[in-house]
Symmetry: C2
Subunit: 411 residues, 2 copies
């Protein structure tokens, strides 16, 4: 008699974005003529850069000819792409080997799967608020006895609150933890960790043989060159950190799907020597994955070319410009805003002590604008909402005008 994995039943709530979709659709079914403007999900809206499209079409031409057709690639990714990634990091002053890169179909899958390498007994720390996938994958991975309403979080999990008081930068855990998820530029708060702040975590991890899972999916949004784009810019990070990155938000690849994870050979933990965790992830990928789509990989190679980077960075600038429009608009209404600048997300404090979902409902029903309630990212997100800069500029302006016009109705 087959038995299910009961860790699934410990998940406290449906995944955030389906719940947003449910509320939006419920409103639309009652108000079919409403013109809903979406600044919720971080979903890119602008056209794929031409150099990337050309590279993918060229790949399709090669696949259309039996002399140049190829089938399975390496599970770790095509060698030219891994070498292009080595060069990409070299430009940030980071030296890595191609064998430390594992190309994937995106950062979400890697961020969720990486916990599989580690024992269930590890104590895991999460920034709070954070991208829900870190917590949810560890719930399914069996690292909590369950959700506690009293704690407003999962038992055994260590939440590192990121609030106004600490500039949304987590403090070093005051207890021993084994795995630490960090994301900078942060989703959802938009906060970016400095070298010094990251170095404190790296030192903590090296001292405690903890492992940092560093999500740098938004690194291309950093315009301030004094801020680190990769954790490996910080001395000592290779022995304690795994970095996950993606082309989703840089090159418009949210739908095309391409990402990568870096597992340095120097990475160690309590019971593993150098090279072991790199080999384990290699084995994991060879067993559970069959390589990213060769068409997407060709596009990725295009994105990392000189011209591809120019075009991708123009996309990033477009969204950063949107972020500025949003921030200025909200601030003109007296709302307190964080983020933007080096991040595509605005993290806005709700007015009048509204809860995140109350302000979500207000913006949906009164302004016809969908955003993301901060509490969906963790308990410390309560009282905030995330506004995404991913949208056509004209729609972002329209959404901001609608908020400005209807904001007087807020209670």
């Amino acid at each position: 008699m087959a038995k299910i994995n009961d860790s699934f039943s410990k998940l406290a709530a449906g995944y955030l974005f389906p719940e947003i979709a449910r509320r939006t659709n419920a409103f639309l079914s009652e108000n079919p003529d409403a013109n809903i403007m979406k600044l919720g999900i971080g979903n890119t809206t602008e056209a794929l850069p031409p150099t990337l499209v050309k590279a993918m079409k060229n790949k399709l031409d090669l696949l259309s000819n039996r002399e140049t057709y190829s089938g399975y690639g390496d599970e770790q990714g095509d060698t030219p792409l891994r070498e292009a990634l080595v060069n990409y990091y070299r430009n940030y002053g980071v030296e890595l080997d191609a064998s430390e890169f594992f190309v994937s179909d995106g950062a979400k899958a890697d961020a969720a799967n990486i916990q599989q390498l580690f024992s269930k007994d590890n104590i895991v720390a999460f920034q709070d608020p954070a991208y829900p996938v870190y917590v949810d994958s560890n719930v399914i991975g069996g690292r909590t006895p369950g959700y506690s309403k009293e704690l407003q979080g999962y038992e055994n999990f260590v939440y590192l609150p990121c609030r106004e008081e600490n500039g949304f930068i987590p403090e070093i855990p005051n207890q021993k933890v084994d795995l630490i998820y960090l994301c900078s530029p942060n989703n959802p708060t938009g906060a970016v960790m400095t070298h010094k702040q990251l170095k404190e975590f790296v030192d903590y991890a090296n001292e405690n043989k903890a492992v940092i899972i560093f999500d740098s999916a938004y690194c291309e949004y950093i315009k301030d060159d004094s801020l680190p784009r990769s954790i490996y810019e910080v001395e000592g990070a290779k022995s304690c950190a795994i970095e996950i990155n993606s082309l989703s938000k840089t090159a418009g690849f949210t739908g095309v799907r391409l990402g990568w994870t870096i597992v340095p050979k120097a990475l160690v933990c309590q019971d593993s020597e150098e090279g072991v965790i790199n080999s384990m992830w290699n084995r994991r990928q060879c067993t559970f994955f069959n390589g990213a789509s060769n068409v997407a990989q060709a596009g990725g190679l295009g994105a990392l070319s000189k011209q591809g980077l120019i075009e991708s960075r123009a996309l990033v600038d477009y969204y950063l410009d949107n972020a500025e429009i949003i921030k200025e608009g909200l601030e003109s209404l007296g709302l307190v805003c964080y983020g933007g600048g080096n991040s595509p997300y605005i993290w806005a404090k709700t007015p009048n002590n509204m809860t995140s979902w109350e302000f979500f409902d207000f913006l949906l029903k009164e302004c016809h604008v969908v955003i993301t309630p901060g509490s969906g990212f963790g308990p410390a997100g309560e009282g905030f909402v995330r506004i995404s800069s991913y949208g056509h500029k004209e729609n972002v302006i329209k959404a901001m005008n609608s908020i400005k016009e209807n904001f007087k109705n807020v209670k």
Copy 2:
């Protein structure tokens, strides 16, 4: 202090195909002029069908325009593709709902991940020999205390031997098992289960509330219409079976990556009611996956169109023709062969009681032909080799001629 998941260290051997690559490369480095002919990995070699390429290029054109660009799709796959899959199964007389289909980046990932839905305590049965991913993912999933040299397999795992005596069709387990992996047409033996044989497993599973994981990745190779292409052609299968399929071997998508898993709403097990396992897989995919590449999905929709199916089936016929050439060639040397016919694989008995790896080495060193040693698929595969029909016809013929010429050296 982070601790690693020690299940990884229980894996008895490196994944099969990297070991084949290692031996091949070692031979090549000593014999750089050798012209190696590969009939090892089941890796497609013929050009992508034009209808599929056109569909993918059209998608790229849509993505190149901001008015028709789209980012994230549904984690479960695009609705038109899921509906096309409903129609595809309807043609085999199988009625399923679009919400029972989960589009993925290929069958390998799904076959490896599906065990995550089930408790670690389940007793798992595997066809022996079998695609190594089923066993390896369950080792990593923590369902065995370790490999036993004495048992020639993993402790706690139930091996269902498929040998000449039973026509390579597994017998119903003589003990209670909870999960059963079946693959038909089988990789590696090429054996295809009849309705009656599958029905016995379905009845066993329903009686014992066991769950069958049915891998039908080669179903398009079935030319004998009396044989079932989907397990759901068998009455009662919806309450006990998950089916996994892929376009890799049908449409040449080994590199493009597209597959799907069917989790019927009617599926139940010991501690789950109807719909629960379907919801769990949905939650799993929404947390660990971000949808298959939209370009690949467009190709998939092309592959399931009327013209796409005609072109894909022509590819299948091409490889089946190769299988016949291989079978006839080996049989002319007096080798005993199985498979082919309704499968792309020939399962050949080694001559003179050689082990699988001995015959592998002979074919590599004397004939310059790479095949796959049967023992790599499980203990009951010892004494056999798998020859894959995936290759240009002219190369298959060349490889067979080389085997014929050099076979006299076999000891």
